[in-house]
């Protein structure tokens, strides 16, 4: 807080310009990186920035640990997926699905919040973990609605079809701008980008508002916040609901982008671990941290595994090491990095850099 009031520190400037650079890269991603995989990475980054930032509202700003964030993400994704499947491709299905996801998320979040936020804070982590696992099991059991383990594939509104022509040249073919086809894929990417940007701005505005200050007060000293007259339980429940709603919207967006929703892409515990890692790597309690954490992790996810495969082949003759260097074991290394980060840099990359600049 003090950093932004006084003269901006060097670290502060560094972080913000990095975030601006990332935003610019994401904005022009289809033109800069012209292959399918890179666009996939860029869209995933956009969605995860929102998801991680909404999680940061909980863990970083309010100091409550929830393991049910993927559950809300999944509600949004499955809401859109089920309706797109039932009602056919159309905007009404997307909007209704998104709203249904948000509604379910709000109800569940309120129930969990009122039930467990008033007792020991530590219960909250356990209860959300239990709730999330029940949701995961339900999704694979109610295969009628959710497609079970296989998930659901569906078609999205016509605007997002790769064959859709956004602009045409004189011959009636898809126009190419800077070598990029102006087709539905591009429209889908910008749908993801703009929605995520909007959601991110909403959160940014929120943490800068008086509400954000109250949340920080609760995190720093719950008893004092209560004594000043803020109703801690009400604020906590509100933030929990809010972050659930945003996560659910992010889920809807991701479902529209992927054209597929299944336990692995929307509900699995692996996503929860990803979110946790992103928050901790980027830095808790700062929206910029969410951006940097999400970018680093998603890129690592896509490209680090290739590197590990090479390393595993190089060490094939040693005992156990190739097993641990197997690309499937990449969580092992991330887990170790995670533990070390929590020990030595609990503020994450952004927190540490900002602090350095302020001191110097």
């Amino acid at each position: 807080m003090s950093a932004s009031l006084s003269k901006p520190s060097f670290g502060d400037i560094a972080v913000k310009s990095t975030v601006l650079l990332i935003a610019a890269l994401l904005c022009f991603a289809p033109f800069l990186f012209q292959d399918v995989r890179a666009l996939e990475v860029a869209a995933r980054i956009c969605v995860f920035i929102v998801l991680v930032a909404s999680y940061d509202l909980l863990i970083g700003y309010t100091g409550i640990v929830s393991f049910a964030h993927t559950m809300f993400f999944g509600f949004g994704a499955y809401g859109a997926a089920i309706l797109l499947r039932q009602m056919g491709p159309g905007w009404d299905a997307v909007i209704l699905g998104g709203l249904a996801g948000v509604l379910v998320s709000l109800v569940v979040a309120t129930a969990i919040g009122l039930l467990s936020l008033r007792v020991k804070a530590i219960f909250f982590a356990m209860i959300t973990l239990a709730a999330a696992s029940v949701a995961l099991v339900l999704a694979s059991q109610l295969s009628h609605f959710t497609g079970g383990e296989d998930g659901i594939t569906y078609r999205t509104p016509d605007l997002f079809k790769p064959a859709f022509k956004l602009m045409v040249d004189e011959d009636g073919k898809v126009l190419r701008l800077f070598g990029v086809k102006m087709n539905g894929k591009l429209a889908a990417y910008y749908f993801v980008f703009v929605t995520c940007l909007l959601l991110f701005f909403v959160m940014l505005r929120l943490v800068g508002s008086p509400l954000g200050t109250v949340l920080k007060a609760i995190r720093e000293n719950e008893a004092r916040a209560e004594a000043i007259g803020y109703r801690v339980v009400a604020y906590r429940t509100f933030v929990f609901c809010l972050s659930a709603a945003i996560a659910s919207l992010a889920g809807t967006v991701y479902a529209v982008w992927l054209k597929y929703t299944g336990p692995d892409t929307a509900l699995s515990f692996a996503i929860m671990i990803d979110i946790l890692l992103m928050v901790v790597i980027g830095g808790m309690g700062t929206m910029w941290g969410a951006v940097i954490g999400a970018v680093l992790m998603v890129i690592a996810q896509y490209y680090l595994r290739d590197l590990m495969g090479v390393a595993a082949e190089a060490t094939a003759k040693l005992p156990l090491l190739p097993e641990l260097l197997n690309p499937d074991r990449w969580l092992f290394w991330l887990g170790i990095i995670f533990i070390l980060l929590v020990y030595f840099f609990p503020k994450g990359i952004v927190g540490t850099i900002t602090q350095k600049g302020a001191r110097g």
Binding site: A130, I273, L276, E323, Y343
Partner: protein, 330 residues
Amino acid sequence: MENLSQFFGRFGGVYLLPVGLALGAFVLIGAPSSWATLTIAGLSMGMMVFLMASGLSLIFGLMDVLNFGHSAFISFGAFVAATVLSALSGWVGADSVFLNSMALVFALLAAISFGLAAGWFFESVIIRPVYHDHLRQILITMGALIVSEQIILALWGGTPITVLRPHFLEGAIILGNVSVEIYRLFAFGLGLVAFIGLYLVLNRSRIGLLVRAGVENREMVEALGFRIDRLFIGVFMVGSALAAVGGAMWAGYETLITPALGGEMMIVVFIVVIIGGLGSIEGTLLGAIMVGLTANYVGFLAPKLALASNMILMTIILLWRPNGLRPAVK
């Protein structure tokens, strides 16, 4: 209302809950023989879950440390025991009860010693630096859980492993028209022995007195000159070893184990600890029996509801008693 609760209090208070549950289920199920089978299955499942959960509850009660990595001990216990049993497959399959039980003893001993060692490592390397910081504790133990799961995957692979059961624990006893699996009786007995042992140590010995005093008021015990941190390592190691034994027993019960076992059991363990109230083994036993019975009854009466039954049970109990049935921590 006041009189009623006093009346129930005289006969055991919340400890009557499992009895009430069993009676209610008896009415709903109707057939006495299937009711008896289900009750025995529920009790033995409860006892195995108790083994896994007791350590977590005590660790939290004594040191205010919540170990999300607790399930790693459960999985490791299961896999270590399964490995020892398959290495001793000659003894396991032999017709002599002595060789059978030797194999079993070795498997359990391996699980226990692994649990003790892993508990010591966990406590001194991973958790010690983050005492009194719940947020970082949750994160660090979660990270440790991720790493341990990956180690299990690297060592044993992702494919399910068959667990050999010692020959003399196979089969069932027929009592009237109720068939009782021997393995379930054995699991129940082992859990009961562990509970009585823990109960006696906690309530009859000097160390137990210190542990209970530490749960009650840690600073005061330290002010009286006792090294509660050393005591805590002991409790942590014993708790981890119990979890490993619970995992080993569960492996024999399921006979087919995957690395996901720890994560699945962890949810049940959490629910048990929350229902029972943190910090007391009586509460944990109560919670474990309740969960075991509910899971089996609901699984029989309404299979569709079985998955959510534990959550529903937890919700009801938390609405009634927000700190669990028998909390030792205030």
